[in-house]
Each structure stands twice: as C-alpha cells, then as structure tokens.
Amino acid sequence: MRIAVLLSAGRHPVSGAAVLPRLEAQAIRIAAGLGTPVGLHAGPDAAAVADALGQGLSRIAHVALPEGADPVPVLAASLRAMAPDLVLAGRRGQGGDESGIVPYALAAALGLPLIADVVAVAPGEAAGTLRLDQSLGRGALRRVVVRGPVVATVHPDAPAPLAYAFGQARRGVIEPVAAIVPAGPAAAPAAVEERPYRRRPKLVKGAPTGGSAAERLKAATGEAGAAASGRLLVDPDPDEAAREILAYLRGIGVLAPPSPRPNP
C-alpha cells in the first residue's frame, strides 16, 4: 500500500526546538504498520522535518516553497503524482496558518474523502477498502469503511509515537522534489497580531457567574464543585452507604439509572 504522511515544521512547545509534531509521529506509526510510508513536506527548509527519518520514515519528499506560500497547490500536485492509497496528516500542522485546514483543502483538491481524527487504520475486508477507527473521545470509536484512496487526520489518542532511532535517521533520505505547479501566491497576510501566549484560566464548570468573590475564588481553586457540596458519612450502615454511592454516581451521570432501557 502506498502511504503518504504529511509533515509540518513543528516547534517544541517548551524549548522551541524544531521537532516533528507528535501527531505526525503518531501518523507515521500508523502508516508504518500498513506499509512503507513516504513523508511529504512543503516548506522552505527540509531540515525541520528530518526528525521524521528517525521515527519510522525512510524517505521524505521535500517540495521547496517560499516562507508563507500556500502549500496546498504544490502538495496536491505532488500527491497526484504519487497517487497514494492513503494520505495521513496530523489534525493540525504546524509552521503555517495552523488552522488544520490543509488536509481538508487537499482532500477537496484531490477529490478524496477525508476522515478526521483516526486512531487506527487497517485494510478493509474487500480489496481496495480501508477500515478507519475515528476517535469519539473516551475510548469510543466510529468505525468507517471507505473505498480508497482517502485522506485521514490523526487523533492524539492514537498509539504513542515510535522512539527516535539515530541509526535509522542517518540512513534516511530527503529527496528534493521540484514543485510541479507554481506555488500559489502567498496568501494575503491576514490581519493577525502575534504576541507571547498567555495562559488563561479555564472556565470552571458550575462556577457562579455572579456570586460573591469568595464563591468565585472557591470555584476557581477547585474547592467548590465536588468538595463544596461534599458529603461526609461517618460509619454509616454499609447498605445505606451503598444507596448513597449509587445515588451520587447516578447524579453525576456515570452510572445508568436502574430502570431497564427499552433497547440497550
């Protein structure tokens, strides 16, 4: 099976070092289980994705592209030439706009279906089909069978990336590929303003929007919610304790109510 893995020029969130984004490393792992994948990167510098050679890829095709240019036309042209059966990408590539739109634009340009957030890919029962498991969160899956070729993005719950093997990395090759179509004009610089990231407090569920300052503080520091309404039963009868526990579990919705479901 021919598999292409789209690679982007990632940055380590803490050190800022050029690294392979974790999701793309996970994509390589999925791809390596199916065949011999080829990496594809469009950008000014291939060194940014050389890490991928140590994490399961033996070959990366690199389309040189000026900084800020739209990668979709050249990637689409390269993929048309490669004609892979499966194109894997992270759910949000780094280094460009980082809006996660490139796989969708590519799928549209190639006329292929796109399956988002997959955690596993396997060949389908019928020839030419693929079975993709989409994550629905919390371990639940949606199993989609598609007639290939198909574009898929990878979800963080996919198997963890392979370790980096220095010995394999030095044997891997990065092949420069001439851009088949002229790079699209650099997208009009969007009116975005960049500044250092500032972490914002997450909304606390059930926090009072009004309420006193003390209540909001309690909510923000986690003293509220469960703990504030916390109940303490000391030496209850075990049966009473059991009733309390079941009532509580049903109250927060992790345990189904006792009434029989019409059709489980």
Binding site: Q94, G100, V146, V192, E193, G225, L232
Partner: protein, 405 residues
C-alpha cells in the same frame, strides 16, 4: 434593575413580635428577600461528626441552618422565580450563526459555550441563529433568537457540510461559530473549504474587538478581528446567562444537495468497553487500595458498575493488580469524570493521578485520609463491607427492573 425595590419599613413590620410593650423583632424568620441569614451555631452543630466521644467537626460541609430546622422546603418555595420573560429580537441588525454539535438533538456544554460566545459577538442588536442538522432542543434558553433545523443527513460528513454551507449562504450571517470539538471542528473545516473562506480556529478569547487563539505549539497567541468563520475552544467562554430567547423556527427551502455518491461504505459506532479502555481515557474509574483484601469482589463490583478498574501502587507492587492499572504520578494520570476510591488513603503521588477527575467518591476507614478530604462523597466505612452491599443493591435493582419490564 429587575430586582423589586425593598421596603425596609414593611419588612420590619412583618417580623415584629406581637406581644410585649417594647417592640421586638424575630430576625431568624426573615425568609423573604436577600440571602437567608446565617446562624453559625446550628451550622456548627450540623458539621459535627457523629459517633466520636470527643466532638469532631467536618468543616468541609456546610449544612444550611434552615435545613436543620426543616425550613428548606419553605425557603425553596419562597425563592421560586417568576417565569422569566422571553426576550424577543424582532428585527436583528445582523445574524451570528452557531452550528452546534447537538448530538442526539441536545446541546452539549460546549455548544452552550459557543452560544455564549455568539452573544458576545451579537451584542444587543444582533440575533443568534442556530443552524442544526436534525432537531435541537432548548436553543432558546441557551440564547438563540432564531433556529434553522435542517433535515437529517446520512453518514457522510461531506453531505452535512454541504447542507450547512448552503444554509449559511442563504442566511448570510455576519459571523459563524462552531465548537472546536471532534465533529464540530471537522464540520467547520469542511464548510470553510467549501465556502473558500479562512477559518479562525480554536478561539480561546471571543470579544467583539477580536478573537485570540494559541499558535506555534502554544508559544504565541494570534489576535484577529472576527471574520466569517471561527471555532471556539472548549471551556474558554462562559455560557449565555441572560433571559431565555425565543429561538423562532425558520422555514427553509433548500434544494436537496446533489452530492456525488459517497465512497464511505459503512459507519458503525463502537462504544468504549470500560473493562478494556486505556485508563487515561476512561470516564469512570473504580480503584482499589490497601484497604481491599477481597479482589474478586472488587472485580465483580467494577464489572457491575461498568467502571474501568484501577489500583494503588501498593496493590500493583504486590502483584495483586496488573501494572497498567496503577493510578498516580508513576502510573497513569487520569482524566476521568468520576473516580471511585475504595480503601485508598491517598498518597500525594496517587492524588496527582486523580487531580484531573471532576468527581471523587471515597470509601475509607480513616476519617483523616487525604482521599476523604478530596472526595465529593466520602464514606468513612470499611470498603470491604461496602462492596458486597453495593453488589447486593445493584443485583436487587436489576431484579426489580427485570420484573418491572
């Protein structure tokens, strides 16, 4: 300014005690208006832990004084708000569309937050249009002025995107917001590609002046004026908190989309099996610690509760539970909704593993265990005795349910 004006004179007259030459007032009976007065003495009494020879208090719970006096029903009745008036925007200056996930026809908490964000963009003049695929309940209380329910579509997400894009083209809103959830983010990008407009994704700040999102691995943030399409990060924007709105249903006469035949052959949903799901993904984890001696009963209980089994390090070290079930800093860090700790005292490393759990239920013999402190429902009792009781209760419920049907 909607609060009724208070009349202190009348309030005083109402609580005056009739007898006696001197005017006397019964302030404890003041139930109407404002917060109920606190009475620390009965509250303290309510916190007293029964059973101990020395008085011991559990300061983590506050029992309202009224509850102790059996007045809670009265108070609740008195505070019953009048049916809120439905706010109507007759002729909105512009529309802000929200495309919720609305799985199963109900708004998710994330959808509600997106509606809250939409209200920020719509302000007073704008109207919020919910565009749902399939039915969607209770859009009005969540802040929708208009509601456009599109017909159900098949399994192909592209078909759904085509339908939404067509509806948006007709409604021509000023902004469209999606939840940046698994399906919502997917739909947003499909719609963006279809409409050929950029998407400002994963906005963590939504204000009329601009949207902010993280970029470059959260090293920078980007701010831009709200464009046509944007998606909103979870737990970043507060829900709509104003009075309910009308969510006036709109009729639509969209032509059925002529999409090419889908290459998706089949779609099947595989629910997570709590027994095998990785611990880090599990929603409900029941965990055994040193206080559990009978692990067979524990396993039965885990199966009966449809929970994922976990364990403390001591049990894993002793080989009583497999290593992959270990919860804590050196085992798995959980993201569960509920953590049910049986016989676990709560070592610091263990508590680090459950820091992300929303609810904690603990059963432990030690009143002063850290896990009891952390728990939303804490039961100071031998877990070894509670487990069979739980199993009995579950079995009885099952039996009754079986008879009932």
């Amino acid at each position: 300014m909607t609060r009724p004006r208070r009349d202190p004179r009348a309030e005083r007259a109402a609580i005056q005690v009739a007898a006696g030459p001197r005017p006397r007032f019964d302030r404890s009976a003041r139930a109407a208006g404002g917060r109920p007065r606190r009475d620390p003495r009965p509250e303290r009494a309510g916190q007293r832990v029964p059973g101990a020879s020395r008085p011991r208090y559990d300061l983590s719970q506050v029992v309202p004084a009224q509850a102790l006096r059996g007045e809670v029903a009265v108070a609740a009745e008195a505070r019953q708000p009048a049916a809120a008036k439905i706010l109507v925007v007759e002729d909105p200056a512009f529309l802000v569309a929200v495309v919720p996930d609305a799985a199963g026809g109900r708004l998710s908490p994330h959808d509600r937050q997106v509606l809250g964000a939409a209200r920020v963009l719509a302000g007073r003049e704008g109207g919020i249009l919910v565009v749902s695929v399939g039915p969607c309940e209770a859009c009005g209380p969540a802040g929708a002025d208009r509601h456009l329910a599109l017909g159900e579509v098949g399994t192909d997400p592209d078909e759904r995107a085509a339908r939404v894009a067509a509806a948006l083209a007709v409604a021509s809103p000023r902004h469209v917001l999606f939840p940046e959830s698994l399906d919502g983010g997917d739909l947003a990008r499909r719609v963006a590609v279809r409409m050929g407009v950029p998407l400002f994704d994963n906005a963590e700040v939504v204000a009329a002046g601009g949207l902010v999102r993280p970029a470059r691995g959260r090293r920078v943030e980007q701010r831009a004026a709200p464009g046509l399409l944007a998606s909103v990060a979870p737990d970043a924007v507060a829900d709509y908190a104003g009075p309910p709105r009308e969510a006036r249903p709109l009729a639509h006469d969209l032509p059925p989309a002529a999409e090419p035949a889908s290459t998706i052959l089949s779609v099947a949903r595989i629910p997570a099996d709590p027994a095998t799901v990785p611990l880090s993904l599990a929603e409900f984890v029941a965990s055994a610690g040193n206080g559990i001696r009978d692990l067979d009963t524990f396993r039965q209980l885990v199966a009966a509760l449809h929970a994922t089994p976990g364990a403390s390090r001591v049990l894993c070290d002793a080989g009583l539970m497999p290593r992959h079930t270990q919860v804590g800093a050196s085992g798995t860090v959980l993201a569960a909704t509920c953590y049910f700790a049986l016989g676990i005292s709560g070592a610091p490393q263990h508590l680090q593993g459950v820091a992300g759990c929303e609810h904690v239920v603990a059963v432990n013999t030690d009143l002063h265990a850290a896990m009891i402190e952390r728990a939303g429902l804490a039961i100071v009792q031998d877990a070894q005795a509670v487990m069979p009781a739980l199993l009995r209760l579950l079995a009885r419920e099952k039996q009754e349910a079986g008879e009932g049907s």
